[in-house]
Structure formats: structure tokens, C-alpha cells
Symmetry: C2
């Protein structure tokens, strides 16, 4: 579950309660990794929210060094969890701290066993094998907009950007896809999540939408010109997937069209 | 020539000098229509610039009522011109003032005879048959982002938005295209112009790029849901066309890849 950041924690909590439900509801044992953030107490609000939403337990794993990330006790907590949550902060911090450690392996193993792993903001970006490491805002693709780095690799073949419309990151995502059009770009708005299932289908929940950038037919001159010059990029296929709709990452198309909102509308 | 607004008037003046050159250079007789703006003196800076760039004449046509727009003298000036320039302001003002008048007919006739017509900002939007009339910024398509109205109709089959990346208007353009995917959306950045030729090819000049939104394969649920809800839009083809590149509006693809910048780069 990749969340675009700034998800509602106080009102409907549509996204976070969906996560608790996926983690087992009343029998959910959730571990929270606030590693992306260097602030003390970063995971505490989530601890409270998950408990309020009925989880059996919500435990913060404090990992401030790479040694922490090899600790037996923490590894066991991950192995025993039924839901894993990565907070926001800096995705390079989380990758640099966890990459190659036993906690990272346990996290990957739990994910493969079907345990839901959710990340918000930086925690969403780090889910993919190649992630955005930084860059600039802007609607028009330029080389200087994008820097990339290796993420945790729970999801292949996508690159995830967040706070998407709020921080105007279209140009950066298209630039990243143009570097390797084999990757599918996912741009997730705030208070919006893509729930990516093992069969390659994702459903959108929340207030905004997810922009999918498909570069498989793309041609670009990203390799020429200067870093700060606009890049010419032709033939990009995009899809805006709003709450209630589903997208098939294999077929690269929208498969279900807004179920919820239709119902909601009919009720008015 | 559709300009995205805020074109350079003081330094290289790449766009405006290209316009003067197209209008005949030293024999250019340019008329300036500041009708989009309700401010007095709106066209004066252009009068100065076009004269400095070597035009034979640059004349402001003051049209403040629909009667002005039927005036014999003004109509003759348009008929005698070798270049027509529409300033920025409010595109609804210019359409409401000129639509159906003799000046509008003369303008259309001159355009068909091959006289270059340039518009910047509001003046660019009003060139098409259907134009953006207002709306809101935002990266995610929603019905409330777009209001449309009839423009002057010098160009069919496109809808032109301006100040494009600067005002974050991607969502509004995609929404407009989703209303009628037969139209091609052109989103033009500031200090950037699309020079649209009679054969349906356009070249980009200036500092930014032009986003082409092709909805011919698009599916959307723009007709359902609420005005303020994100719309699900699948299978949109987009092209970012930077300076020096050309796009074929008929074939709907990039045809020439950045000539200028390659040269510039080779020279470094």
C-alpha cells in the first residue's frame, strides 16, 4: 500500500483503517518503522491511531543505526507482524539505514508471505526497487528534476512519487520514466493510496488520484541537451486513477471504473 | 503562433523576433489587438518592441466596444496587415468583443491567406474554436477545473492552455480533452510558442515546452461523479515538445527532435 503522504489521521481515516483491516483488524499486530524520519517520536501518532482503529497491537521499531536493523528482537517483531507501516521523512535515510540488513530481509519475506506493507510519503517511495531520491518540482520534464536511488525493492517495475499534485511533480516522474521506460511511474496524491495486490492489480482509495505514466511507447531525447533544458518526450500514455477505480500493472490499463463514487452519487 | 504568455520582451526576444520575421521583417505591417485587456495602454510595449525589431509599422487597434469592431478603418488596417498580434488579458473579453464582427472576419480571412496571427496568454487561448474560459489550477483532472467557451476559431481541433507549467494547469487541460477527446490539447509554457503551420505541423520556440494531450484512445468517467471529485481518465497519450522540436497535429506525433539544442550542445 503506497500512500501519497498527509493521509487523514483524525476524521474518516479511510486509508489507515483499510490498512488495519488488511492487517487483520482486531488480530492485527502492526509494526511501525519511523526510520525515514530523524525526529524522535515520529511513529507515536500512528501507534495511537492504529490502536484506536482496533488493532491488537501497534509497536514502534526504533532503528537509528544499521546495527539496530540487525537486532534479533526487532527482526522477530517484524517476522511476527501481520502489518508493517513505514512513516514519512527522507527515503534516502530509510534505504541507507535498512538496505541489506536483517530487518530489510524480514520485511521482504513478510511481504512475499502476503503481509500488507504500507508506506506514506518517503515510506511509499522506498517500496520500489528504484526510487526517487530527490529533485525538483515542475510540470515540464528536464533532466535536473530527477535523482534516483535504489529502494527496498518490495515492488518491481514501478517508481513511486508522492505528494504528487500538491508538489507539482509530473515533470519529475515523466523524466524518471524516460530514463528507463520499462518502469511504470506512479504519482500518488496526498491522502490517497494505491493498494497494490500480488496479482499486479492496484485499487485507489482516498481523496485524490494516482497518475500512472506508461513509457512503453515513449520516445525521448533525455540523453541529449543540457540538464536544465526541457526534454522532448513523445508518446507517453497516462492514466488518472481516482478512488474506487483499479489499474492492472501487467495489462497497463484501468480495469474497474469508480465503484464507490457511483454508489455515493446514486444515493444523493 | 500561440504563445504561453510572459514572453521575453527585453533580451533575446526569440519569439517576438520570429513573429516579426514571419510577418515580413523590414516590410512587416503589424496590427496589435489589445482587446483582451481592459487596461489602457496595453499594446504600447508591443508597438515599441516590434518597431525596435525592424517592422515597417506596428499599429494598435483600440477596440473597446463591438461597434469599434465593425469600423471600416480598423477592418482595412487588418486587411492590409502582414501580421496580427493579440495581447494577453481575458480571453472571454476578446471573444465577447470581437466574435461575429467584421474585424473578426477580416482576421480569419487574413489568417487563411497565410498572414501570421500571434496571440499570447489569453490571446493564444482565443485562437482556437473552443477555448478555455476559466477554471482552476491543479494536476489532477476534476470537472470543476475547466470551463470552456467558443473562441475565434482560427485553429480547429485543438484547445490551447497557457502559463502552463507555471500555473500547474495539467488537470484542467486533461479535463477539457476528456469532455471531447476529438480535440487535441496544447499546454504552452511561459516564454514558449507553438508556431502552427497550415500543413498541421507545429514547431516550438522559446524557453519551455508544449504539452500535447491526445485523448483519441482515452476512456474516462468525466460524465459521472461530482464536480469536485477526481475523475478517472485512462489511456491518455501525451507528448512534451521542447524548443527546436516539431509535432504533427494530423499524425499526432513528434516529427523532428530538437534541432537547435543539439547544435548548441555540439558547440560546447
Amino acid at each position: 500500500m503506497a500512500i501519497g503522504g498527509a493521509e487523514d489521521k483524525f476524521r474518516d481515516r479511510v486509508i489507515l483503517s483499510r490498512f488495519v483491516e488488511m492487517a487483520g483488524g482486531p488480530s492485527a499486530r502492526i509494526v511501525i518503522l519511523p526510520t525515514a524520519s530523524s525526529l524522535p517520536g515520529a511513529g507515536q501518532l500512528y501507534e495511537t491511531v492504529f490502536t484506536e482503529l482496533g488493532a491488537e497491537s501497534a509497536t514502534i521499531l526504533t532503528i537509528d543505526t544499521r546495527d539496530d536493523a540487525d537486532d534479533d528482537g526487532l527482526v522477530e517483531l517484524v517476522q511476527d507482524s501481520t502489518g508493517i507501516f513505514l512513516t514519512g521523512g527522507n527515503q534516502v535515510r530509510i534505504a541507507a539505514m535498512l538496505g541489506g540488513t536483517r530487518v530489510a530481509s524480514a520485511l521482504n519475506a513478510r511481504s512475499l508471505q502476503g503481509v500488507p506493507v504500507a508506506g506514506t510519503s518517503a515510506g511509499a517511495s522506498v517500496l520500489s526497487a528504484i526510487m526517487v531520491a530527490g529533485g525538483r518540482a515542475g510540470a515540464t520534464p528536464k533532466r535536473q528534476l530527477a535523482r534516483m536511488a535504489p529502494g527496498l525493492g518490495l515492488i518491481d517495475s514501478v517508481i513511486i512519487d508522492q505528494h504528487f499534485r500538491e508538489r507539482n511533480r509530473v515533470g519529475r516522474l515523466v523524466t524518471m520514466v524516460s530514463y528507463n521506460p520499462g518502469l511504470l511511474g506512479l504519482g500518488i496524491d496526498e491522502d490517497t493510496a494505491a493498494i497494490i495486490m500480488p496479482d499486479g492489480l492496484f485499487e485507489v482509495v482516498g481523496r485524490g488520484s494516482v497518475l500512472v505514466v506508461d513509457g512503453s511507447q515513449m520516445t525521448s531525447d533525455v540523453f541529449s541537451g543540457l540538464d536544465r533544458q526541457p526534454v522532448t518526450v513523445g508518446n507517453v500514455t497516462i492514466h488518472y486513477v481516482a478512488a474506487g477505480s483499479c489499474f492492472d500493472l501487467e495489462q497497463r490499463k484501468v480495469t474497474i471504473w469508480r465503484k464507490e463514487s457511483r454508489t455515493r452519487r446514486a444515493a444523493q
